[in-house]
């Protein structure tokens, strides 16, 4: 049974595309045939972060309009087997996505893929709605700040009232992913703590990704950060994938690095 997973947030710039790329690459690396779809029609970002922008010929909207087959538009990743990318169009607007069109693409993907990851655009308008409509599960990406948490709460409401699953009387399984987490700033009171976010949203936590310079480096070089085995963010995404697949993995990188005190310096 294949699964459709939407990566969404409401608020923009919180790390949806970074997370979609890492998550999809991680699933594929574990041997699951995975497709990742860029729903951000008009902006196009996923292909850049995944380093395939030069290989885009046809896109999601071409497939919906019948101008290309799905096979023609899907880009096979060269680094990870089992990983395919369906890029968004840069030239159209979000109205190019019709419910019927999206449904037929997803149904066709379901025949071949284990996981279909949908990278949602920001906001709660049409593009975001299309990305979540067919989801079985949702990864809610939240930054440790009040406005991001509030937007996540909003998108959760839309997910459980307007998705196809909701219309069919079912629920979309929810996972909370906190990104750009900086234990120092939480400690200093500048950011919301992990426990507070979980308490406010009351959604099971699937992972915490630390704020890390390696994310920007990775996206500049077109390699999903999960492939950087030395980076804390990459390792945290590995844990997310493992948890998603049912493993029990303790949280990492959530505490402030212990600073050596005077006596520790003396005796340690």
């Amino acid at each position: 049974m294949s699964k459709v997973i939407v990566v969404t947030s409401g608020k923009g710039g919180v790390g949806k595309t970074t997370s979609s790329a890492a998550f999809a690459a991680g699933l594929a690396a574990k041997g699951h045939k995975t497709a990742v779809i860029d729903f951000d029609v008009g902006l196009r970002n996923l292909d850049l972060i995944m380093g395939v922008e030069r290989r885009v010929v046809y896109d999601f909207v071409n497939v919906i309009n019948g101008e290309a087959t799905l096979k023609q538009a899907l880009i096979k990743d060269k680094r990870v087997d089992n990983l395919y990318i369906l890029p968004a169009s840069q030239t159209r607007d979000k109205d190019a996505l019709s419910k019927e069109g999206v449904e037929s693409v997803i149904n066709e993907l379901k025949k071949e893929f284990d996981f279909i990851v949908c990278d949602s655009p920001a906001g709660i308008e049409k593009g975001a709605f299309m990305a979540l409509y067919f989801a079985d599960e949702a990864i809610i990406v939240t930054n440790p700040e009040v406005s991001s948490v509030r937007d996540s709460d909003r998108i959760l409401g839309i997910l459980q009232s307007r998705s196809k699953a909701a219309e069919d009387g079912k629920t979309v399984k929810e996972h909370l992913l906190i990104t750009r987490y900086s234990p120092d700033r939480v400690e200093g009171g500048d950011m919301l703590g992990m426990d507070d976010i979980v308490e406010i949203l009351s959604v099971p936590l699937i992972g915490v990704i630390p704020e890390s310079g390696s994310v920007l480096q990775a996206s500049n070089s077109g390699n999903p950060v999960i492939m950087d085995k030395d980076s804390e963010a990459g390792q945290a995404y590995q844990d997310v994938v493992a948890r998603f697949l049912g493993e029990e993995v303790p949280l990492r990188f959530i505490d402030v690095e212990p600073k050596k005190g005077f006596f520790q310096k003396l005796f340690g």
């Binding site: 709660i124 709605f129 509030r150 709460d153 909003r154 959760l156 409401g157 839309i158 459980q160 009232s161 307007r162 629920t171 406010i200 009351s202």
Partner: protein
């Protein structure tokens, strides 16, 4: 045109003329006087003043206009009965005239019709608004999932029990009493059609706004020592009383 609060947070729009343009312009003006109060607030259209002339009004357009203005059209009342089917097609619920004191005990044939039609309205609503209704014949609506920011749940003619949390920025509303077993963080309005006996019960009071039968109070930290604690809210005359729930 006249817009009244009617002893509740449910606004009633008394339509007195057929000119929709004019009506909407006036309504917009009213709304802008207190946008916070009217934004996303449910509204009932009363046709009593129009009589049979109501036949000539485009209710489908009116519904659309109300949505555009940020209201949540709930239902229509005092319309000529011959119009019922047409109004339902246009996405409206047909409501009985409100009789606050007897509303909670009244069970009649048209209750089921009303509930069904309101369920229909809910589907067509904007994402932010999801009024729900208790199943026919059961005077209680149970919500077992969180009510999130931007969502609105309304138990028409019923009590409401929420088993999960309600988020800041959400709104729950019932004609009867409301029980919330998760943290109560949004707005909560009991006795929405004027039942002064309605009460609010919650396990953890963190609400932004509480209201019973139209008497409302914004809750900030200074207002109650019971913040975050189990509490019951009832109406004593014009005053909302917040009491500890457990002794």
């Amino acid at each position: 045109m006249k817009l009244k609060g009617e002893m509740s947070m449910l606004n009633v729009l008394h339509v007195q003329e057929l000119d929709l343009e004019k009506l909407c312009a006036e309504l917009e003006q009213k709304r802008d006087e207190a946008p916070q109060f009217f934004m996303k607030s449910p509204i009932i259209v009363d046709c009593a003043d129009l009589g049979d002339a109501a036949e000539q009004l485009d209710f489908s357009l009116l519904r659309q206009k109300l949505l555009e203005l940020g209201f949540i059209p709930v239902g229509i009342r005092n319309n000529p009965v011959e119009m019922n089917a047409r109004l339902v097609d246009a996405g409206w619920a047909i409501m009985r005239e409100s009789r606050p004191s007897t509303a909670s005990t009244e069970v009649s044939g048209d209750v089921s019709a009303e509930t069904n039609q309101q369920a229909e309205v809910a589907q067509q609503d904007e994402p932010q608004a999801a009024p729900q209704v208790a199943p026919v014949g059961i005077k209680s609506l149970t919500i077992d999932r969180p009510v999130r920011s931007g969502q609105q749940v309304y138990a028409a003619d019923a009590d409401m029990t929420v088993l999960a949390q309600t988020s800041a920025g959400s709104e729950i509303m019932a004609d009867g009493s409301i029980h919330v077993y998760g943290p109560l963080r949004g707005r909560v309005l009991a006795g929405a059609r004027g039942n002064e006996q309605a009460r609010i019960f919650c396990q953890s009071l963190q609400a932004e706004l509480i209201a019973i039968a139209g008497r409302y109070q914004l809750l900030d930290e200074s207002d109650t020592e019971l913040k975050g604690k189990p509490a019951m809210i009832r109406l004593d005359g014009e005053k909302l009383i917040i009491e500890p729930l457990a002794h």
